[in-house]
């Protein structure tokens, strides 16, 4: 635990990627296998289920620190992180004998707490806190509270592991797929399998077999698309080099069929097989050694097919998939109401052979051949006809009305890469681009602010925005509403008012956040716990990806992915947008979801 705490401190203390990799490599060289197994698990994003409820953690800490509840809460508001608050308010530790390693902590002390009665948990927490220093306490609370995060990417961890083991980083990525899945616990054995020497490539192949996943369940690393922000004609060359498909708004997934089993993985490396029995049934008839990449969606059988598609129905809006994932029990009604389908767009393995080095168009043909040969039917993402950029742009312009996010552009000769890379070192083109539809935008007025968490603790970064219920007649009418708000007069139900419609907390630079924060402090009207109401003075341009009716929201609408594009100091308050203008963006044909 001490060594892991030191590693954490070293990673936390630097923003340099090279220094982080160095620190990781040094740790891996020194740590026993069972500890390294856990450290890599946590650093690569593994999250064991919460073993101690937040409320209990908090209660035991408040009592151990001898603080009244309100003072613990005030401390938490200043720190913005529960584990750190607990670590800081507890009385100084009593130095103990050398504490055990990370794995021993997990197996002997922390995991047994899951499901234990409150008194046992409280006793164990107090004992652990007594002997740990501030950093040790912080990590302990993070580990049992299920909220451990550290500022390293999975890619960086893989690089460090690759350097430690003397392996290629893609091989490590392939071996580590599923390593952080919450349903398994890391073991020294699993860790040794990750860092084992690479197998010798069989004669007659040029190496890829060496990277074959060592367990049948394992997916290939996902190839991620770059956002296309420039003009495609200039950035990408002739359109005829590219295969265009719809960009679906679902969950990216790989369906793995090997050794008589089926595994469904999300891009977040979460094993989702059990959530989608439809996909288990879909792949059960595939030949062993088949891996297909595609989009998991809820399938709307009634809707007309998308242009280019030859199968009935089309993907339903993402909200339906979200609802389906939220269901714990998959009874017949849930399965009937929100049937999950899979839109296949790539094949990564056939007959147990890695397909990723083959050019995109060949993989596409192989995918179509597979789809024709299997039963039940495998839906393949339709290709969009279009020999030039203007015709592809015309398809893209229809995205919103068709319920897709835009287009995917894949170079005909691209191989299937790892992660988000533009080009590989060799000659083969490596390019997937997402050419998303432009977001909606709206000009909103900031009316409430709340301090952020983590590195944004104590800075007001989470804002609530409002629009006018109708267009103000002029600046004076808008100003009168501002004065009424400042005087705490209730809004006139029949008159002009500001209506809250969304929250947003990202999109500004740190410098912009600081400037807005300063204005918020100067224009605060009232404080409600962590939230401040402010005198409405600031207009922001907000972007969002979608809008739906929502009876739960006062404005009657809910936005998808709202974020700030920029402050609009040039925009007078009375020129901010109106609720009718927002409502006009609602998709016309969709009924309100329950």
């Amino acid at each position: 635990m001490k060594r892991f705490a030191e590693l954490y401190a070293a990673l936390d203390a630097t923003t340099s990627t090279a220094a982080k990799v160095d620190a990781l490599v040094a740790y891996l060289a020194a740590a026993p296998d069972e500890d390294a197994a856990w450290a890599v698990y946590f650093l690569a994003g593994g999250k064991p289920r919460q073993t101690v409820r937040t409320a209990l953690l908090r209660a035991v800490a408040t009592e151990a620190a001898g603080l009244p509840d309100w003072l613990f809460e005030a401390s938490y508001q200043a720190v913005g992180d529960l584990a750190e608050t607990i670590a800081l308010v507890l009385p100084p530790p009593v130095p103990a004998a050398e504490p055990p390693g990370l794995a021993a902590w997990m197996h002997e002390r922390l995991l047994p707490l899951r499901g234990a009665d409150d008194a046992t948990v409280a006793h164990a927490l107090r004992a652990a806190w007594r002997e740990l220093d501030t950093l040790g306490r912080f990590l302990l609370v993070k580990l049992v509270g299920g909220g451990f995060r550290v500022g390293v990417s999975k890619l960086l961890v893989q690089r460090a592991v690759a350097r430690h083991a003397g392996l290629d980083a893609t091989l490590v990525a392939a071996r580590m797929m599923g390593y952080t899945d919450g349903k398994r616990l890391p073991t020294a054995e699993a860790w040794r399998a990750v860092i084992a020497p690479a197998a010798i490539a069989p004669a007659g192949t040029d190496g890829p077999a060496a990277a074959m996943p060592h367990e049948p369940s394992q997916p290939w690393p996902f190839f991620l698309a770059q956002p296309l922000l420039e003009d495609p004609a200039e950035a990408l060359g002739p359109a005829s080099d590219w295969l265009a498909e719809w960009k679906f708004d679902g969950i990216r997934g790989q369906v793995v069929r090997r050794a008589g089993g089926v595994w469904v993985w999300s891009r977040g490396e979460e094993l989702m097989t059990e959530r989608f029995p439809e996909l288990q049934a879909l792949a059960a008839g595939w030949p062993d050694g088949t891996v297909v990449d595609g989009e998991i969606v809820v399938w709307d059988r009634e809707a007309p097919p998308l242009p280019g598609a030859d199968t009935p129905g089309r993907p339903a809006p993402f909200a339906r998939l979200q609802q389906r994932i939220g269901r714990q029990a998959l009874n017949a009604k849930v399965l009937a109401d929100a049937p999950v389908g899979f839109v296949a767009y790539d094949v990564l393995e056939l007959g147990g052979v890695d397909q990723r080095v083959r050019p995109q168009h060949e993989r596409r043909a192989a995918l179509q051949a597979l789809a024709a040969a299997v039963s039940p039917r495998l839906v393949v993402s339709p290709l969009l006809a279009g020999a030039d950029w203007p015709s592809l742009a015309a398809w893209r312009a229809q995205s919103r009305s068709l319920g897709v996010e835009g287009l995917m552009l894949k170079h005909r000769d691209s191989r299937y890469g790892t992660g988000r890379v533009r080009r590989s070192g060799d000659d083969a083109p490596l390019a997937w681009w997402k050419w998303k539809v432009e977001p909606f935008t709206v000009d909103g007025v900031l009316i409430y602010a709340q301090a952020g968490h983590g590195r944004r603790a104590s800075v007001y970064t989470d804002y609530t925005f409002a629009v006018w219920n109708r267009a103000p007649a002029d600046a004076d009418e808008a100003q009168a509403v501002v004065e009424a708000i400042a005087a705490r007069r209730p809004p006139d139900p029949d008159g002009l008012q500001l209506v809250a419609f969304t929250k947003a907390y990202s999109g500004l630079t740190d410098e912009e956040f600081r400037a807005v924060d300063a204005v918020i402090r100067k224009t605060t009207l009232e404080k409600f716990g962590p939230v401040r109401s402010v005198r409405p003075t600031m207009v922001f341009e907000l972007a969002f990806e979608g809008i739906a009716r929502s009876p739960r929201h006062k404005s009657g609408v809910a936005l998808r992915f709202p974020r700030m594009l920029r402050p609009r100091p040039d925009k007078p308050l009375h020129e901010a947008d109106t609720l009718p203008a927002l409502l006009a963006l609602l998709p016309a044909s969709r009924a309100a979801p329950a």
């Binding site: 603080l67 003072l71 401390s75 800081l88 308010v89 603790a457 600081r514 402090r521």
Partner: protein
């Protein structure tokens, strides 16, 4: 019986003595607790402060101010009010103001830092001494139980280790700190054998003022006085935050930067500051320090100023004390002060 110290738009005011303590608007008579800019402002008619802070005050407010200096514990009578100054342990010359009139004693603390039990007292200023009183006016900059300082020895061990590692790697160690007080406490605490020490032009004159009253500090130089560029790569560099991002700091080539402040206790603030490291070094009382100091005054009534005012007032009330708040323009409110690490502009000496 009317209060001995009240709040007025100009600052804290003593009605029977007709003088102000650390006023933020221009007044005729001002008693100054210490030389930080939010407590010692220019333009007052008369200044009363500790004799040892005279150099600092004249350097900051003008050589021609009308100044009267007192030794710690020495008293003067003014309109029947007995005024004396007592060590606050905050920066060189910092004082608590003791005011006695009609058998009652009030103490205004300014900013203060008690020496934690068992710790070595600060060499750069006279350590805090509790003063018995009926009413104690206390600051509350770090008035939350999350603020608990570790022993200086451990902290300076961390700073020395950081400096030594940088020197080994051939890069300068730029340590951002307040020019008055924090910088000198750092100088007195670091291991000067690791390498040369360079101070920014805002820091160096204050070092001279400290040395002038007998505080021993290791040798420091301005960057212009260092001819050997190799020496700069091993140097510890003390500067205010405003110096980062200027051509001045580029003279050091590759460097690691750190910020020394009590605010660095909270990880979010360390990260937001964007420095490589944050060292938790404060010249204010931590939470246990505030409670101990307040208890040691024996005062049944406590008035809380700048910092975590509502928190400390409520906590003291729950401990059975009569506690209330004064609104002042010292420092900033606790949340605004949280920005200090980023801009290093709000208040001084946190």
């Amino acid at each position: 019986m009317s209060d001995l110290i009240v709040q007025r738009p100009e600052g804290l005011y003593c009605p029977p003595g007709d003088f102000y303590i650390d006023p933020w608007r221009r007044v005729d008579r001002a008693v100054i607790t210490h030389a930080h800019a939010d407590h010692a402002r220019p333009g007052h008619g008369h200044y009363l402060a500790t004799a040892v802070s005279e150099g600092l005050l004249r350097a900051r407010l003008g050589a021609d101010i009308t100044f009267q200096g007192l030794a710690y514990g020495e008293a003067v009578e003014h309109r029947g009010v007995r005024i004396s100054l007592h060590p606050a342990g905050h920066v060189l010359g910092s004082a608590q103001v003791r005011v006695e009139h009609g058998g009652r004693v009030w103490v205004a603390s300014g900013d203060y830092r008690p020496t934690p039990a068992g710790a070595t007292p600060d060499r750069t200023c006279t350590p805090f001494e509790p003063v018995r009183c009926d009413v104690f006016i206390t600051e509350s900059t770090f008035g939350l139980p999350i603020y608990r300082w570790q022993p200086d020895a451990r902290l300076f061990g961390e700073i020395n280790a950081w400096w030594a590692a940088n020197a080994e790697a051939g890069r300068a160690s730029v340590l951002v700190c307040y020019s008055l007080g924090k910088a000198q406490r750092l100088l007195a605490g670091v291991d000067a054998s690791i390498g040369p020490i360079v101070c920014h032009g805002a820091v160096e004159p204050l070092n001279r003022a400290y040395r002038a009253v007998g505080v021993a500090l290791p040798e420091t130089r301005l960057v212009s006085e260092v001819a050997d560029r190799g020496a700069l790569r091993r140097a510890l560099v003390l500067c205010p935050g405003s110096a980062l991002g200027t051509p001045w700091v580029r003279r050091f080539g590759e460097f690691s930067d750190a910020f020394a402040s009590g605010w660095m206790q909270v990880r979010g603030q360390r990260r937001r500051g964007g420095h490589d490291r944050g060292f938790v070094l404060s010249d204010h009382a931590d939470w246990p320090g505030l409670l101990t100091a307040i208890g040691a005054t024996g005062a049944p009534r406590v008035i809380v100023t700048h910092g975590s005012v509502p928190v400390l007032v409520r906590y003291l009330q729950e401990q059975g004390l009569q506690a209330e708040a004064f609104e002042t323009e010292y420092g900033d409110d606790q949340e605004a002060a949280a920005e200090a690490p980023a801009g290093a502009s709000a208040g001084e000496g946190a």
